[in-house]
């Protein structure tokens, strides 16, 4: 007969095993990409444009990705923060607010490929923005808007109510209180939320592939209405359609650069958050 102690030991071993499997699976991917991509990270690779499909570097791709998330943040950042201010400070507890929340949640649940299709039909064809930086950036913005709303909402909600009361007691109007007290105090939290949204937008491929360009452009866009190259799409193209060793080494390099940008943003976000949590002794997110 198996005693309870023995059973406990076996179960513990099993739990150790599954946890190690999941950690190893996740880390091995990161480590594999780092090891194989590391030697591609040369100044030449990072600062030249690609040519003949699989030669050259990824300079326009890196800049293109940054431009895309820049446009995306110009839309989703302010919109998200303003919507969050409304939802936390003004929204009455009624059917309209519930509807607002419902739609924010619904937008968060829509698969990225559908946002991409919508971007193609609405931005590219209907609004005549063509395949461009603007279409891609806006479509990415639609995708991460719910995340920026939610994150800013949590951050503003975490500001203690006494702050607001003090400001109102001094005779400040509601908007002055929000502008100078709530948002100020929630600022690091809002930044964290926006950074996490940025990390999500950086790695998104399907949306950008459908709305912003083929990824192999060797030039930088001169206006927002021109196609733009991006790292994820470049990686997709070169990994699936290039079958030479040059293509694969470049794919490793691009994957590593993408991963590094993603991890940097995430680490930076968690540093800001930890700092904030320690300073204000509040919990959020």
């Amino acid at each position: 007969m198996v005693t309870e102690q023995k059973k406990e030991k076996i179960i513990k071993a099993f739990l150790y095993l599954t946890t190690s499997i999941s950690i190893i699976a996740l880390l091995s991917i990161v480590i594999y990409i780092v090891i194989n991509g590391a030697y591609m990270i040369t100044p030449e690779f990072l600062t030249t444009a690609p040519y003949k499909f699989e030669m050259g570097g990824i300079f326009p791709q890196i800049i293109g990705t940054l431009l895309l998330v820049g446009v995306c943040m110009c839309f989703a950042g302010p919109m998200g923060v303003l919507a969050a201010i409304y939802l936390t400070e003004y929204a009455p507890n009624n059917i309209i607010t519930k509807t607002l929340r419902f739609f924010v949640e619904s937008l968060a649940g829509i698969p990225s490929i559908i946002i991409g299709l919508f971007g193609l039909a609405f931005l590219v064809y209907y609004m005549h923005f063509r395949i461009s930086l603007l279409s891609g950036g806006l479509a990415l913005g639609f995708m991460i808007l719910p995340w920026t709303v939610r994150a800013s909402e949590e951050a503003i909600r975490a500001v203690p109510f006494s702050y607001r009361e003090a400001s109102l007691a001094l005779g400040a109007s509601k908007w002055q209180t929000i502008k100078n007290v709530s948002v100020q105090a929630a600022f690091p939290g809002i930044i964290t939320g926006l950074l996490l949204g940025l990390g999500k937008a950086i790695g998104e491929t399907a949306v950008v592939l459908l709305t912003a360009g083929s990824g192999l452009e060797s030039f930088l866009p001169r206006s927002v209405f021109e196609p733009v190259a991006s790292l994820p799409v470049y990686l997709y193209m070169i990994a699936t359609q290039g079958h030479t060793s040059e293509a694969y080494t470049r794919a490793y390099g691009a994957a590593l650069v993408l991963l590094m940008i993603f991890l940097t943003i995430n680490i930076f976000a968690s540093i800001v958050r930890n700092h904030y949590v320690k300073k204000h002794k509040v919990r959020f997110g």
Partner: protein
């Protein structure tokens, strides 16, 4: 007086910003339906043959493959993810937990294209040489997708288990129960809805996922109903991405691709609403 007017205007403006999400969601539904509805008919929903060059647009094979891939991946990530969450929440030392939890959370949004690339370059040759077939297979899709959904499931269900108050654990241990008995009889039943919601959300993200799956499942031109896990398949998302680039705008082909988008949208909407109802039950029940 002017101050009041300004305050009122600001409130209206903020309300406008908050309604952007509504406008976007409604526009998405409108455009998807406008572009896709003309392609939705009996042959589309119940046809077995997808062959754009012969104007055959039946999605049964694609839908079956999608669920085959999604459910399999989900099963793997449940079998590994839930025990990992139990370990992190109930067994692990605080420092270990913090390290693992924060690294798992960092990987929640890992660019799916990187995972797909890893699958393409490592997993596919491995499967081809050791198990057989062409390497690009349902099996590869399962593994990559389950790696992708793991962080979601671990992180969300761990949160749900941690939310069970400590007094429950103390009470159970005081009655002489072992740790595992506590987990099975107390923690899991109480965290049930959170865990369930994490699973449903994992499922909907697995079904809506595009790039990671696309790169490892082969995407044959004419899909068939898979009869082995080494078969190549084509799922809804990969069909859209691959074919939208050469479908002529306004043709039945393009409309059918949007119609696939509509079907996908409906599946995902159903799953997220189930998850929402489940979570709501959780919140209402207060300890």
């Amino acid at each position: 007086m002017r101050r009041q007017i300004r305050e009122k205007l600001i409130e209206r403006g903020l309300f406008g910003a908050a309604s952007t999400s509504i406008i976007i969601v409604l526009l998405i539904v409108l455009f998807m339906v406008l572009e896709g509805c003309s392609a939705i008919n009996f042959n589309f929903l119940f046809g077995y043959e997808w062959n754009p060059s012969h104007e055959k647009f039946g999605i049964v094979t694609i839908v079956i493959s999608t669920f085959y891939i999604g459910l399999g991946a989900l099963a793997i990530s449940i079998c590994i993810g839930i025990p990992s969450a139990i370990f992190l929440s109930e067994y692990a030392h605080e420092t270990i937990r913090n390290i693992i939890k924060s690294s798992v959370e960092m990987l929640v949004g890992i660019p799916s294209i990187v995972l797909g690339f890893f699958g393409l370059i490592v997993l596919i040759p491995l499967i081809r040489e050791n198990i057989g077939g062409r390497g690009e297979s349902i099996l590869a899709g399962w593994i990559i997708l389950s790696i992708m959904t793991l962080p979601h499931i671990i992180s969300l269900s761990e949160d749900a288990m941690r939310a069970v108050p400590n007094s429950f654990r103390e009470g159970s241990v005081a009655l002489g129960a072992t740790k595992w008995q506590t987990v099975i009889k107390l923690i899991l039943p109480n965290a049930k809805s959170g865990v369930l919601a994490s699973i449903i959300l994992g499922m909907s993200s697995a079904i809506g996922e595009t790039m990671a799956v696309l790169m490892v499942i082969g995407n044959p031109n004419i899909p068939w109903i898979p009869n082995s896990i080494l078969d190549q398949v084509r799922v809804m998302t990969s069909t859209i991405v691959i074919e939208i680039s050469y479908a002529v705008w306004g043709s039945p082909h393009q409309q059918s691709l949007f119609a696939i988008g509509v079907v996908l949208f409906i599946f995902v909407a159903i799953m997220t609403s189930i998850a929402r109802i489940v979570v709501k039950g959780e919140i209402r029940r207060k300890w």
